[in-house]
Assembly symmetry: C2
Homo-oligomer: 452 residues x 2
């Protein structure tokens, strides 16, 4: 008997990334509504689809999860690189961020979403200002996300004085709580920019609504020294003393942490997001990810913002994650390709608390799916698909993207946004950014010439 389905994706190797790592060569997958209805490699003729996607012998896998980014920073990409951290922050990033408004964040987030869809990301976790705009941009384009307004002790260009931070965050939660693709988190910036009081209030809000609490932790040695000087504790010990550690806490970076911190985090079930490219580019250090994984911590992968990466391509991030730990430990067997792909899919989904919804291809889960075109010189022949995805592919190899059952990109055409309009708006915002920087780098060479 024929079964009606909305979509079939066929003629590819299905890498489910489920707990048994089920894999179907010459497999197919059926979508009904927003949900995965069937996965298999036989009896495709029993399904009657409205729409068929031909993977043409490529790979069918869960959409990637970018577990930590600042999407609208796409508008600052390449504005300032190769600088000492404080010069980068104080000379460029903070001055331009202080000028931003809601429209700026909306334009930057749409640009970032376009890039993320084109490079295979179907879920992102955002921390930034004017986060209501991020939720709107994601909603408009059909992108899955977990977002939250960054809060800290300084006045915000969005919600104003710190006294408004919690109320603003609560408003976001209440507004979006029932949305099928947008989820909200509470996001205090870091232990060094938030008072113990603000951290405690943020934690209480997260617990009240059962949403994640997201924070940058131990990104740099400078931060650790500052917290040690102020509280006599490591950042993790400090959060522990505030009773904030728990399975609802997502700790971004965790570069400069001690073995004892890892044990503490494991005891409390804290989730971690690893951002190797940003940590390398800013010379922050190398997070002890193999050690965290060995301790049983769940680790996701993030690109961080475009100003410190400088792209949102999780394929490049996977490659970096696999290689940096091999050379750092002088052991080529750590961070194998399969483990790294796990980190970028089901690992990231679990970190964000979305593991029942996305991160793997399983019947009953939401249909967040990407199709990789492997008929290309750099992906032929294929002895091991996990190796190719981590070490050889890049974001441009993604051919089709489905999010929550909806076809978002087909044959690399974006179906839910007007790319020309997104790019034109981004160029318009860049004119403002240049005007905000007094000594703008614009196009300038080593000798300060703009042409010969």
């Amino acid at each position: 008997m024929m079964q009606d389905v909305d979509m079939i994706i066929k003629n590819g190797t299905v890498l489910t990334m489920d707990s048994k790592n089920s894999l179907f060569e010459n497999g197919f997958l059926c979508v009904k509504g927003d949900t995965i209805a069937h996965i298999g490699d036989r009896f495709i003729e029993q399904f009657n689809p409205l729409k068929t996607i031909d993977a043409k012998g490529g790979l069918i896998l869960p959409g990637l999860v970018n577990a930590h980014t600042h999407a609208a920073m796409s508008l600052f990409r390449g504005l300032a690189d190769d600088l000492p951290l404080m010069e980068w922050l104080n000379g460029y990033i903070f001055p331009v961020e202080s000028q931003m408004d809601a429209d700026f964040v909306y334009a930057g987030t749409l640009l970032a979403i376009a890039e993320m869809i084109l490079s295979g990301t179907t879920t992102f976790c955002d921390m930034y200002l004017f986060e209501e705009e991020v939720a709107k941009a994601a909603k408009r384009t059909g992108m899955r996300c977990l977002v939250g307004e960054v809060i800290y002790d300084f006045p915000s260009p969005n919600y104003g004085p710190v006294e408004n931070a919690i109320e603003y965050s609560e408003g976001l939660i209440r507004k979006w709580r029932d949305d099928p693709i947008v989820s909200i988190a509470v996001e205090p910036h870091s232990p060094y920019t938030c008072s113990p009081k603000l951290l405690t209030m943020a934690n209480e809000l997260a617990l009240k609504y059962e949403v994640p609490l997201i924070i940058h932790v131990a990104e740099t040695k400078t931060e650790v020294n500052e917290i040690m000087g102020k509280y006599g504790k490591t950042p993790i010990e400090h959060l522990d003393s505030l009773k904030i550690l728990g399975p609802h806490l997502i700790a971004d970076h965790c570069v400069c942490i001690e073995p004892s911190d890892i044990t503490t985090m494991a005891i409390h079930g804290v989730k971690v997001v690893h951002n190797p490219e940003s940590n390398m580019k800013l010379a922050a250090g190398i997070a002890p990810v193999p050690e965290m994984l060995a301790a049983g911590l769940i680790v996701g992968l993030g690109t961080d913002g475009c100003a410190s990466n400088n792209n949102l391509d999780l394929f490049m991030e996977m490659d970096m994650a696999a290689k940096i730990h091999k050379v750092h430990s002088m052991d080529p067997t750590v961070m194998d390709a399969f483990s790294v792909l796990q980190m970028a899919t089901i690992g990231g989904a679990t970190v964000l608390g979305l593991e029942d919804i996305t991160g793997s291809l399983e019947v009953g889960k939401k249909a967040d799916i990407i199709v990789i075109d492997t008929y290309q010189p750099h992906l032929v022949p294929m002895y091991n698909p996990f190796s190719h995805l981590v070490y050889a592919a890049n974001g441009n190899d993604v051919r089709h993207t489905i999010i929550n059952g909806r076809l978002i990109m087909e044959d690399r055409s974006l179906l839910t946004l007007d790319l020309n309009e997104v790019i034109a708006n981004a160029e318009g915002k860049a004119v403002k950014v240049r005007s905000w920087i007094s000594n703008g780098p614009h196009i300038k060479n080593e000798n300060g010439q703009t042409h010969a």
Copy 2:
């Protein structure tokens, strides 16, 4: 008065990478025969071209130079990863290499050339077996290269016993010496696989014909220990004692070298090729590149072979080169984007002794040019083109490629090879590779299942 030219590439920012780093916004470039005839930003109407390439606001720059690879290893990509070095070599690479023949190398090299052209490389330097086939494949496809047969103390599946090594290399040099795009080098494999006698003979051959001598040096700690044990010298000291060091010597890797080695290399003008991705993936270590540059050494960038990278995309290699040294030195200012792009263009060309021919866009040099499509979400807005090329772009962003004045890729279509045929031949060779490996990994998951 009108001047006839063969090609104009217009409507882009021309990054010349010449010694003054001349840069032309809204510039254009004329090609006559195999040569760059004009570069500028005014009076384009004075040139009458047979063919016009519209860069559409993108970037026009010298083709990239992959200064060290083993092209035909494209057929081993993903065959074995995440393994200890000796298990990888003895269990996979050596067994399959022992079975190779000329046809295998030809097919693998064509596959690699397709990938290199598609990702912006216009010159590559190869070291492998059956190198006559590499020269033929490059010649057929119009790719510029410096190639040489790898020689060592063991019998070769190509030229037979070591006694034939020098004669075979000399034959290659004599056959190809006048070719406009193929050059030949003498390529002893390494200090640990070549006797002092073989190294000396190889050096004499290189000096006789004034061609480069290319060798892997100090790639791993194991190698250094072996040479120290055998000769009581570091690999560089060993080569120095054989009087092999000189400006004609290209030393690949140089991962495990001492400050005194760097001084010695600088005194003799030895050229270096840095292969960060391979060194990281094999957990060999991190070459002291900032120190080598500070000592005045000329350093190029290479991908190494696909079995240890696993691609030939120099854009990813540039990104890795910039980031690994920042985090290794904990200094975000080292290996800035411009310096890294230099390494991948004029630096690599100088290493290969081709600096009068390629590596920068200058009137009178050969026309080796790539055009980058920047109208994409991950490259908009653009504050600094060097930053975008190193930190944000990838090989798929290359739109057009010209080598030696010949249009090799237009709108990502390869004009000098049949991609379907190249891929079909590669798939055919992969069937053989699988049969050569007793415990082939093929498509196999962590649990050894091939499907659920």
